[in-house]
């Protein structure tokens, strides 16, 4: 979704020179192409906001995201990182990491927030709503927000600091983790790090 923000930043008047912690190399790298399809779009320059109305489908080589509404809020100052993106209603994310492992996230709502404090970047995605948010990976592993009541689930969080590996967690964890068969030598952690 961070990538989506880049686009919308451009609409607002400047292409975001996004923060990156990747080491500098001389070799030119091919850009990644992201596709977004939606039924409709409303953009407001004054509100610094673009709203894609569903069904919304976001695809790139690593991500497939679907939802009914995607709202992107641009930063006030040109060139800054996007500050907030919100996916709403039937949010489904399929993500394949650099190691080829696949993750599946479902939630009613997902809110991405970016901030920088003392040169440290923080990215948080908070998944909430009903049905309760859930992430699964591999064949048997899952992490779910514990329901507070019958209508809403507790939040499920994804956090990422300084562009490093991100991780999922929940305040009241309800995690299903099935260890590998006996005799398998593995260091797989039940708390999956992305």
């Amino acid at each position: 979704m961070k990538k989506i923000f880049l686009l919308l930043l451009s609409v607002c008047g400047g292409v975001a020179s996004a923060q990156t912690n990747a080491p500098a190399t001389n070799a030119p790298t091919r850009p990644v192409i992201m596709d977004i399809t939606s039924k409709s779009l409303d953009f407001d320059q004054n509100l610094r906001q673009a709203v894609y109305h569903g069904p919304v489908l976001v695809t790139d080589p690593q991500v497939r995201l679907t939802c009914e509404q995607l709202t992107v809020t641009f930063p006030a100052k040109k060139g800054r990182h996007l500050e907030q993106v919100q996916a709403e209603t039937n949010v489904v994310i399929d993500y394949t990491d650099e190691q080829g492992e696949k993750y599946h996230v479902t939630a009613a709502k997902g809110v991405y927030v970016y901030s920088m404090v003392n040169s440290v970047t923080n990215e948080t995605v908070t998944f909430t709503g009903s049905p309760k948010p859930k992430v699964t990976w591999g064949d048997t592993n899952s992490l779910t927000g514990e329901p507070i009541n019958s209508l809403t689930g507790d939040a499920l969080y994804y956090t990422r600091v300084n562009g490093g590996k991100g991780s999922f967690h929940a305040d009241n964890q309800q995690m299903h983790y099935e260890p590998p068969p006996a005799g398998t030598n593995t260091n797989t952690s039940p708390l999956k790090l992305f």
Binding site: M1, K2, K3, I4, L6, L7, S10, V11, G13, G14, V15, A18, T20, A22, T29, R30, P31, V32, I33, M34, D35, I36, T37, S38, K39, S40, L41, D42, F43, D44, Q45, N46, L47, Y52, D60, Q62, V63, K78, V85, I93, Y95, D97, E98, Y103, V105, G110, Y112, E123, V125, Y158, R160, G163, G166, F194
Partner: protein, 162 residues
């Protein structure tokens, strides 16, 4: 209030100029002699930033041809809207093969196709059925159907699932 009045007169002036151009063409014999040609061609209208950037063009609207419609509207062919920053750099371009344009109310609309792209070419949005509206302080774009966005992301910014 002065600013609003100034904006109104500026828009009205542009509209009058545009209508005058169309009417002047209408007075002239068309290519077939007695047939009147009601079209203006290759017209441009510019909108400026408020002070202190009052000399900078904020938006330039142009078209290959315009014909008057009832209610002070114009039927514009090959609409092109260019948006500029306060330092004069082109930010984005919107283009449509045809639309209805309201010069006094500053909106353009069509059931047809609209394409919007950034000046650096890193994003492109297209869709069918649109309304562009320019108010005193803001531009809004609504696209009704089949919205398709293509974004070019630097590879070193790729890797997070969101």
């Amino acid at each position: 209030m002065k600013l609003i009045a100034a904006k109104f007169y500026r828009a009205a002036g542009a509209a009058v100029f545009l209508f005058a151009a169309i009417n002047n063409r209408a007075q002239q014999p068309g290519p077939l002699g007695g047939v009147k040609d009601l079209h203006a061609t290759d017209f441009t209208q510019e909108q400026y930033y408020e002070q202190p950037n009052g000399q900078q063009v904020k938006m330039r609207l142009s078209g290959a041809a315009a014909a008057p419609l009832p209610g002070g509207l114009l039927d514009v062919k090959e609409l092109k809207v260019e948006l500029f920053s306060t330092n004069g750099l082109l930010q984005a371009v919107a283009q449509a093969p045809q639309c209805t344009y309201a010069p006094l109310d500053n909106w353009a609309s069509s059931p047809g196709r609209l394409e919007v792209w950034s000046a650096d070419g890193k994003y492109r949005i297209e869709g069918e059925g649109f309304l562009l509206r320019q108010t005193n302080s803001s531009l809004t774009i609504s696209i009704s159907n089949h919205v398709h966005t293509v974004i070019e992301i630097p590879a070193d910014n790729h890797g997070s699932f969101l």
